[in-house]
Amino acid sequence: MLLAYSAPELWSIFVMQGFSGLSLFSVLLLMALGLAIIFGQMGVVNLAHGEFMALGAYTVYLCSQLVQNHAPALQPYYFVIAIFVAFVAAGLTGLLVEWSLIRFLYKRPLDTLLATWGLSLIMQQAFRSTFGAREVTPTLPGWLMGSFKPTPSIDIPINGVFVMGLTLLLTFGVWLFMYRSRIGLHMRATVQNRTMSGAVGINTRLVDRFTFSLGCAIAGVAGAAFTTIGSTGPDSGSRYIVDTFLVVVFGGTASLLGTIASAFGIAQGQSITEFFLEGTMGKVAILLTIVIVLMLRPKGLFPSKVRSA
């Protein structure tokens, strides 16, 4: 297979696949970040996480429609604002979901799994009923289109770079928040020792609510980013949910670094194998590899070393 290409061709392929891999990496990482917070930190399995991502994407689409119909002059500027709106919309929905459903199920992880699957069905149907079954795309601002070509055979799409930039920003933001802010401290404290946290005056219920909403809000941003590289349909969320969970589990649920490394490895691996094996077979190969590795190292690449009581 590899021998069919000349060396410079191979190099271009690797670079381009590498970049498309980076796009996939960004989406996976953004989804995994939100999930790592909810699952990794709280142990809550949210199978509807993909739908929060879709929610973010649809929000951006709505903003795009609004701007187009009522204020076309704002066209080039609306996108960044739309991302914030997606963040807020997904976060608020997450808040509602936590309050109405999740908080009854904290001690029952398997049940949360089933309940959130039901939620994802409901959300998918809601999307279908509101936006139709066909995929939609927001009108992307001009500065996101096109690509730049460092060499004639290498084509780097700008939207890919934008998404990557957004991902890095958000990852850094999450790290800063979790490890350098007071609220982040409360979050980590509650996760590690709920009773003591409550005893020192942290309102653990509110912290839980906030943690869950934050995870969903980040998924919303993932969805907004997703609109730049693909169209959105009612089941777009379910397309990546298994991958996202595997990313989180593979990286070791307690480690942010692990999540990043795992998302990178999986995305790149998938992108490169997809080119050489036909499409789906590439994905199958990667998934199989991950599952086998997980069977050998169930705690993931960067397991938590804390001794549990």
Binding site: V45, L101, F104, A115, W117, Q125, V249, V284, L294, M295
Partner: protein, 381 residues
């Protein structure tokens, strides 16, 4: 004799449950429904094999698998491969460029039968494979996971990944597996036409008998110490380990048992419905099968059957009349079963029995004091 009465039939209440189900499946439904609908019920019953397996695995042993579709599919594909080969004899396929091989292989320019298809020319092997292949896969996965103490949510996610892997794998290899369309156009089982209406009725009854048999076998397995062990395991896995039991082997055994049941269900599905495709193997059907078990009551064997029938009947009805609403209802059902009715139908029955039961007892004992009078006196009926 008494031993068999208690261990297999579970005494009086067990016999009642068995009798009711047998009555429903073997008498009421065949009489009330036209053959077309009966065939549908037969299809639902094949799903209930999976739900039954889940009751043993999840309800009793506490291990949730979101990938039972894998085993259903493996069993189904084994049976389908045999049937397809039978339908692809050189005479029927003489218009193909390569006669003697299944049509989809011909379309994909294969010139000879792939090696892994060869053994399925034999019926005994295929029947053996229906059980052996799923159970072998379950054994490998189970040993790898349970020996390393992977359980709970992690295990569930990995089974989901396996379902995805298998469905994608089958989908992408059209020449070898029939791809997305699956294996279709199945006609005869050793010369016997499986599509004729009278065959369908026979297959329906065969399915019912096998199902009832599997329930009895499950009950027998659960009677005695094994049932208590599984209860203990679900409650306090650590303590079981420190009582000298190799916990992982129990989970592996439960997983393999559930896989075998699912494989059988898959094979019966193929016989009754006449095809198999990756859409029955992936994530969505696998999770749906969990809901069948959950609605019936995750720890109730009979509940598995009723739950499957109920949810599927509801699905048919709903999607015919309110297609838009169906997914809302399904999603709502998931949530309701988890939050409000964790013990499903079985739990509701139990509740009713507790409320009405004592009253019935009194009537039966011939007490002159009626329930109303005792209420008036302030006693509980």
């Amino acid at each position: 004799m008494k031993n068999i009465y208690t261990r297999i039939f579970r005494g009086r209440s067990g016999l009642t449950n068995l009798g009711l189900l047998a009555l429903l499946l073997l008498v009421v439904l065949p009489v009330a429904l036209p053959i077309f609908r009966l065939n549908l019920v037969g299809k639902y019953l094949t799903y209930s094999f999976v739900a039954l397996g889940l009751v043993m695995l999840w309800g009793k042993a506490g291990v949730l698998s979101l990938g039972q579709g894998v085993f259903f599919g493996l069993g189904g594909y084994c049976m389908a491969m045999f049937l397809k080969l039978e339908a692809s004899d050189p005479i029927s396929t003489k218009i193909q460029s390569t006669p003697g091989i299944p049509d989809f292989m011909d379309w994909n320019q294969l010139t000879h039968l792939p090696a892994f298809w060869m053994p399925f020319k034999s019926l005994p092997f295929s029947l053996f494979a229906v059980f052996a292949v799923p159970m072998l896969v379950a054994l490998i996965v189970g040993l790898a996971m349970f020996k390393r103490r992977v359980g709970g949510v992690y295990f569930a996610i990995i089974t989901q990944a396996l379902a995805l892997i298998l469905s994608l794998g089958i989908d992408s290899r059209q020449g070898y597996t029939g791809g997305r369309n699956g294996i279709t156009d199945l006609r005869t089982l050793w010369g016997w036409d499986i599509r004729a209406p009278h065959s369908q009725v026979i297959l329906y009854f065969v399915t019912c008998f096998l199902l009832l048999l599997c329930i009895l076998v499950s009950q027998w397995l659960l009677s005695g110490k094994t049932g208590k062990m599984l209860l203990a395991l679900r409650d306090r896995e650590d303590r079981v380990r420190f009582s000298g039991y190799d916990v992982s082997m129990f989970k592996v055994a439960a997983f393999c048992f559930a896989a075998g049941l699912s494989g059988l269900g898959g094979a019966l599905f193929v016989l009754q419905v006449g095809f198999i495709s990756p859409s029955l193997v992936g994530i969505v059907p696998s999770i749906e099968m969990v809901i069948f078990a959950a609605v019936g009551g995750r720890a109730s064997l009979y509940g598995a059957v009723y739950g499957t029938l109920l949810v599927n009947a509801g699905k048919s009805l709903f999607s015919e009349t309110f297609p838009q609403l169906w997914l809302f209802a399904m999603g709502g059902l998931f949530i309701a079963v988890v939050v409000l009715f964790p013990d499903g139908l079985a739990g509701v029955c139990e509740l009713l029995r507790k409320k009405i039961g004592p009253g019935l007892e009194k009537l039966r004992a011939g007490r002159s004091v009626t329930i109303v009078e005792s209420l008036a006196k302030g006693e509980k009926p």
